[in-house]
Symmetry: C2
Subunit: 517 residues, 2 copies
């Protein structure tokens, strides 16, 4: 028996029962503990960015943390980009990182680095176990930190000797976890008064307000006041489809976003913060709140915004249910041989996607083309690229499929993004997950073609164009997918994509469609 077993048992008592891992020598006692203790499933990932992205997807869909188990500073480093996305999604994630034994650290062996310092920039909380007697209590503390009240990435550094020690600390029982903070009646009242006295207010929502109940309440407020309802561009998770309120999604490009917010005299912020542009551009303001508009805060990501929006709707005497658009249906295909584009892919999804699907969107420009078509289609959860770190789609889908094993999961990926973390396909195949991956092969970092023009860097010459171009050589995504064990087909016309999607849904298990656009 060794201390790692107490840690695993304590974690299971906190409801942490899934571990995405790529372990090494310093994690072997955790591996052995996961083997000996019943109740936590280990999922092997070929690359740590898959493990952390999966933990993010699980956290967004399950509303509770999975854990990772990563190998010292470099293993952690490989997972940081998707931890960045998780942090920006306010996903509860318990990020466990093995480290050298405490007395081995000062010897500066090859794999030594300051692990806690590597964790810190992408974590809402980071801590290190300093003796085996702490493994259970630190595990509970880390899980609490993942719950918040602002949910996020809690990183726990576990030195090998603290895991292997025979001095087993007590296994701790389930602790009470922090919940979202309640929002006071006074704050709700202030918001109501501000909305009523404004001429052209916008209710600007984000975070948990984009889930079904929050949207319903926000829709009621919007309908009562006939005010615009706008949503942040990259909400962690948006409940969508027929029967759900569909806010305007703030445009990505700053000029279009400014249009979305034009002429408002009040921004009521609910679950997010005032909008800012994704990037800065020469001579363009980064803050998107229109000049002269007042900003009032109902609450942010740490606050129980759903309850507050419901109270606000009641206070304003809003209708019990907002008026909704009728269910949308895609037309039959009359142009099967037309070249595919993202919009047609969206129509195929509208046609065939099962109710309660989960869509992980890592397809930048193609995702923007698909999103509008699904507005009033089958109900689904749309998970956004919250932190802008591409390479999230396939890993996120792995975690989402564990949280929602009976729902169909989709990973929509640009080819540039998919190339970051394609190793996720292997875990999908290993775990036989119901995931349909769509890789939009435009053989380009397409968004950068727009951005290069927009930043005012002049006309791109051949060397600059080459840095945005993925066509030399073209990646063969059928081979890449099959190489990691996931069956794949190519579709370059409207009809081919529609058929490929139906076939993938029928086949079950992981599938990949290369959408040549």
């Amino acid at each position: 028996m060794f201390a790692a077993e107490s840690m695993v048992r304590t974690l299971i008592n906190q409801g942490v029962d899934l571990c995405f891992t790529n372990p090494g020598t310093s994690e072997m006692h955790m591996v052995a503990a996961l083997d000996r203790v019943e109740g936590m499933k280990s999922v092997l990932c070929l690359f740590e960015g898959v493990a952390t992205g999966a933990a993010d997807g699980y956290g967004r869909m399950a509303g509770k943390p999975a854990c990772t188990l990563l190998h010292l500073g470099p293993g952690l480093a490989n997972g940081l980009a998707n931890l960045h996305n998780a942090r920006r999604a306010f996903s509860p994630v318990l990020n466990i990182v093995g480290d050298h034994a405490i007395n081995h650290r000062p010897l500066d062996a090859p794999l030594t680095s300051d692990v806690e310092a590597v964790c810190a920039p992408m974590s809402r909380w980071a801590g290190s176990v300093t003796s085996s007697s702490e493994v259970s209590s630190m595990a509970v503390e880390a899980v609490k930190q993942a719950y918040g009240p602002e949910r996020g990435v809690a990183s726990l550094v576990l030195p090998a000797d603290c895991a292997w020690s025979n001095e087993e600390p007590d296994v701790l029982p389930k602790a009470e976890m922090p919940g979202l903070r309640p929002i006071s009646d006074k704050t709700v009242q202030n918001a109501a008064e501000a909305l009523k006295s404004a001429k052209n207010p916008i209710l600007y929502i984000g975070g948990t307000a984009c889930l079904e109940d929050g949207l319903q309440a926000a829709g009621r407020v919007s309908e009562k006041l006939k005010c615009r309802l706008v949503m942040e561009t990259f909400a962690p998770r948006i409940s969508r489809g027929a029967g759900r309120v569909s806010p305007v999604r703030l445009n990505y490009f700053a000029e279009q976003a400014a249009e979305d917010l034009k002429d408002c005299d009040l921004l009521l912020i609910a679950g997010s913060k005032p909008p800012v542009s994704f990037f800065a551009y020469p001579g363009v303001p980064s803050e998107l709140t229109p000049e002269g508009a007042k900003v009032v805060h109902l609450g942010g990501p740490a606050d129980d915004i759903t309850t507050a929006l419901g109270a606000l709707a009641e206070m304003l005497g809003a209708p019990k249910a907002p008026t909704l658009a009728p269910r949308g249906y895609a037309p039959e295909i009359t142009n099967p041989d037309e070249p595919l584009n993202p919009g047609y892919a969206g129509l195929s999804l509208l046609r065939h996607m099962p109710e309660n699907s989960v869509i992980c969107d890592d397809a930048t420009t193609s995702g923007m083309g698909i999103y509008p078509w699904l507005d009033n289609g089958p109900n689904h959860e749309w998970l956004c690229l919250t932190g802008g770190a591409i390479g999230m789609g396939m890993p996120l889908s792995v975690g989402a499929a564990f949280a929602a094993p009976d729902q169909q999961v989709f990973a929509l990926c640009g080819d540039g993004a998919a190339a970051y973390t394609l190793q996720a396909l292997w875990t999908q195949a290993r775990e036989k997950q119901n995931i349909i991956n769509v890789v939009f092969a435009n053989h380009s970092y397409m968004v950068l073609n727009f951005e290069l023009a927009r930043v005012g860097a002049g006309e791109p010459g051949p060397a600059a164009q080459a840095m945005l171009d993925l066509s030399n050589p073209k990646m063969d995504w059928v081979k890449l997918s099959e190489g990691f064990g996931v069956p794949a087909v190519r579709a370059s016309t409207v009809g081919q994509f529609d058929e490929a999607l139906q076939a993938a849904l029928k086949a079950g298990g992981p599938q990949l469609i290369v959408a040549e656009i």
Copy 2:
């Protein structure tokens, strides 16, 4: 005209003329500058770990820095693991990371993070440009920091507005770069006296002492004193082959390493530091210096150890040239149908490898099997996994091939390691590099099978075994390689591998051989 152009011109003046990049919007002015200014080649990588690994490979072979150009915190994070290896290799690397415009940072847009804090743990120096007027001077400072005197990773954070500004600072001329520190005569004399008065000394070398001239001098000392010559396990670059001195390479496993150093009463440290075990194990000391042995330092990685070893040899009256083993040749193949193993792969390399090849070893257990066979074969440079962060081999080979375009480069990779950064194959294909990749497919994290037993975590059950197993599903490396544009074949017998190697050498360009072992 904008400030980024001054920076690029200044870098070219410092001899930095190669950039491994995956840029984003915040780097578009650097991309435009690289386009407008002649003299620096940009190499696009599909993943930042490829870019940083390539910069490491270039630094080791060229002895001067290439630069990277990475996209904010997450892009940098993806490159950190191979920066860790570069730092441990004392490779000169200029790591340029774009950041948001300075006044955009406090708005906490989705891609915001503390970029300098993400750099710090894996850099020997990190700095941020704070105004466009600094871009040239900070660029020079960063290149100087990469040169040392202890060479390493210098990270320079470049906010977008400092790059796009029209206030162009002066282009700076070539600055004098730091060199290795000279070692005093007194230190050499102390070493000579310590060696002479010891009964059973070991000359323990590392770093630049493992290059041809250092080895020659160390071999003279060893021959004169009839003392053991031992080399650190993971030197950045080892000059090998017939005509070169071949020290004992300290074993990876601590028990065997202890054997290598047994009974010595003096360790003279030349270019490295006293040996420690790679990992800690319960109840086993991490420091490998035998009890009672004296440790004397001639110099470390920042010191001109080659000159000092030459002076030491002279002072001791050593022979002008050490006695060397005769050129080794592999026997003809008499067992072509026998199953392949790493040793047979080593014999094929001995048979066919061109003189002056470069071998990037990321093959852990298979690399250990190949290494001894090439001792007295064709001259070659062997580059080790200095930091233990797997996923280095293919990226390193990309950079090595740029530094040594007329030499044959090999990337030897375990299948677990290759899966980390297989995107490097795409850059090899794009740049038509003379690289032969060998993926040793044992479908396992093989070294962890040994380690799990050695850490005393008990008999592994099925869940633990599954965490070390890559056979479900088996990766198809022929498809993965072809998917990224590199031709590939599979070899599972002695004869097949030997033929595949000859065919790959004849074909030129990037090739991949799957060695089924």
